[in-house]
């Protein structure tokens, strides 16, 4: 058993931060990811709430959802990019012949995802204050940070899921990086409360942590919900992360057995 070498581990984690950062800053589309799509989506929905003449609480309800889904989308895509960039460059085998653990891949790319999505959050919350008079700080700093932590952790959960699918199905799975979040928007109550969903979807929504984080944060704006919402949200994340850690190990083992790492590098 090799001894724990913390500086070495941190350098390896930082490698993935640097990699994503360099690729992001060179790619004009990443600017679209941070600025264009979130802002366009935010204004489209925000203006719709004005047109419909919704009151401040109702508008806030929807704006919280829209900003949350933008934060999640930007953060999770960075986690997914850790393998997608290698997949597109056909350099997967060089990453996996290096002595790195999956957690280093994930935590490095998650870190840059958190930074990028926090920028998105700051931008959108500022715009929501200026354009729609919505105050994101009303619940206080503590609840806001807990809410954001929940979103960031959920993002890593989705990103790992995409990575698992990429290792299993290769190029066929890259679409998951853009579609999982949209599916969540449908089920978890981004634009409406989950109570309006038909029965099976309602139960599915309860199995997704985002539902609880949204209900938690909206409770500060007059949409009260019973139960310990944060405990449920973080509890589910803990369980899913543990499952994904095992699954990642299994699919990586499978990729080494089937030759997927080599095939995806050719």
């Amino acid at each position: 058993m090799s001894s724990l070498n913390l500086p070495r581990i941190l350098i390896q984690v930082w490698a993935f931060v640097i990699k994503n950062w360099i690729i992001t800053k060179r790619n004009v589309f990443s600017l679209f990811e941070i600025l264009f799509w979130p802002v366009v989506g935010f204004f489209s929905v925000g203006l719709l709430t004005s047109f419909l003449g919704l009151n401040a609480d109702m508008s806030g309800f929807i704006l919280i959802g829209v900003i949350s889904i933008s934060v999640i989308q930007v953060c999770q895509i960075d986690v997914a990019y850790v393998l997608l960039y290698d997949l597109w460059s056909k350099s997967l085998k060089h990453t996996f012949i290096a002595p790195v653990h999956p957690f280093q891949l994930i935590s490095g790319s998650w870190l840059i995802g958190v930074i990028r999505s926090f920028v998105v959050f700051l931008l959108l919350s500022l715009l929501s204050a200026l354009a729609f008079d919505f105050n994101f700080l009303k619940p206080g700093l503590g609840p806001l940070l807990l809410f954001l932590l929940g979103l960031f952790l959920l993002s890593v959960l989705i990103g790992i899921g995409v990575c698992i699918l990429v290792l299993l199905f290769g190029y066929k799975a890259e679409v998951a990086a853009w579609s999982i979040t949209s599916l969540m928007a449908l089920i978890c109550g981004i634009y409406y409360p989950i109570s309006i969903l038909p029965s099976p979807l309602h139960e599915i929504a309860r199995a997704i942590p985002l539902t609880y984080f949204l209900e938690y944060f909206r409770s500060f704006y007059g949409f009260k919900n019973g139960g310990n919402l944060l405990a449920w949200g973080f509890g589910e994340i803990g369980v899913y992360l543990a499952i994904e850690a095992v699954l990642f190990k299994i699919v990586l083992y499978r990729a080494r057995r089937t030759g997927a790492l080599i095939k995806l590098s050719e």
Partner: protein, 323 residues
């Protein structure tokens, strides 16, 4: 001398199609022993299983069964530890497209845990070693094939590996670049005394670089040995071409020590001897005494390619040769 690589009974099957019903047995019980500091070549045609074997030994691929030891470590159970001591460079190299040469080297250097100063010094030295100075700030997708290959070799040395795997390092390169790359490989190995396992289907490359060679065909090692040993084993020998006037006594040629075969066509006699250095004098004397007037003597050597073809032929006809 201790072993750098030891493989025993390596089998590998690839499955494809619906539920993996199509199966292809790619490696059929490979045994291999490579000593530390050796340049060992795995030679074989396309589809022989060279890359599969190299991928297994470098921990990128798990075998169906068999044992692997790399530098005394279990290649299957201690993959992570093994990866700190090995590295790989492949022909048709691919790295992160939008990263420059220098950035790619920094990224991979970080993956091996090299800290800032240590990494910067090493990268500077590698860029110099592979003449990449002018291209260090060029993104990977704008490099020529030769430059990409040099970057691949530079990356493979970033962690000072004790064992270096080279998968067809000169494939797709033009001859002059191939020669430069081969010279660099030889020089680096000599300086760093690392073990190099190289796959190639280029016989000249194997002959130039390798201390020992294994012939791989259809997932089986036909034989292993030095170039000279293999040539002797096939009894293909070395060729001497003699232009003469007069007559040659074929009976005497047949009786001559060391002569494997001969052929006469007009005024040209082609004789195959087991050891050119030892037999040439005798052969010339014998022909002169028999009444032939020697006009010109040309020496030739058996190509490793001929040796491989001979081995493959013997295997196909069920006469497998062994070391």
């Amino acid at each position: 001398m201790s072993l750098a690589i030891k493989a025993e009974g390596i089998f590998k099957t690839f499955r494809s199609g619906w539920l993996g019903k199509k199966q292809k047995l790619v490696l059929k019980g490979i045994d291999l022993q490579i000593e530390e500091g050796e340049i060992f070549g795995i030679l074989g045609p396309n589809g022989a299983g060279k890359t599969t074997l190299l991928s297994i030994l470098s921990t990128l691929l798990f075998p169906d069964r068999g044992k692997i030891q790399i530098l005394g470590m279990d290649g299957l159970r201690e993959g992570h530890r093994v990866r700190t001591k090995v590295n790989i460079s492949s022909g048709n190299a691919n790295f992160l497209w939008s990263l420059t040469v220098k950035e790619n080297l920094h990224f991979y250097g970080m993956l091996y845990g090299l800290n800032g100063n240590q990494r910067a010094e090493k990268i500077k030295a590698l860029i110099k070693l592979f003449n990449l100075e002018e291209h260090q700030d060029v993104s990977f997708d704008r490099l020529s094939t030769g430059m990409k290959q040099r970057l691949s070799l530079a990356k493979s040395l970033i962690n000072d590996p004790a064992v270096l795997f080279l998968d067809e390092p000169t494939v797709g390169l033009d001859p002059s670049v191939s020669i430069t790359i081969r010279e660099q490989i030889r020089l680096i190995q000599k300086e760093r005394k690392m073990t190099v396992l190289l796959t190639t289907h280029n016989m000249k490359e194997a002959e130039y670089l390798c201390n020992r060679i294994a012939f791989l065909k259809d997932g089986e090692i036909l034989t292993t040995g030095t170039t000279e040993t293999l040539k002797r084993m096939t009894r293909m020998g070395e060729v001497v071409k003699i232009e003469f006037k007069g007559t040659i006594s074929e009976d005497e040629l047949l009786r001559a020590e060391g002569v494997i075969n001969y052929g006469i066509s007009g005024n040209l006699c082609e004789i195959i001897v087991d050891d050119l250095e030892r037999r040439l004098g005798n052969v010339v004397v014998l022909l002169s005494q028999g009444g032939a007037q020697i006009k010109k003597v040309t020496l030739g050597q058996t190509d490793l390619e001929d040796v491989f073809i001979e081995f493959a032929k013997d295997t196909d006809s069920g006469m497998g040769l062994c070391d």
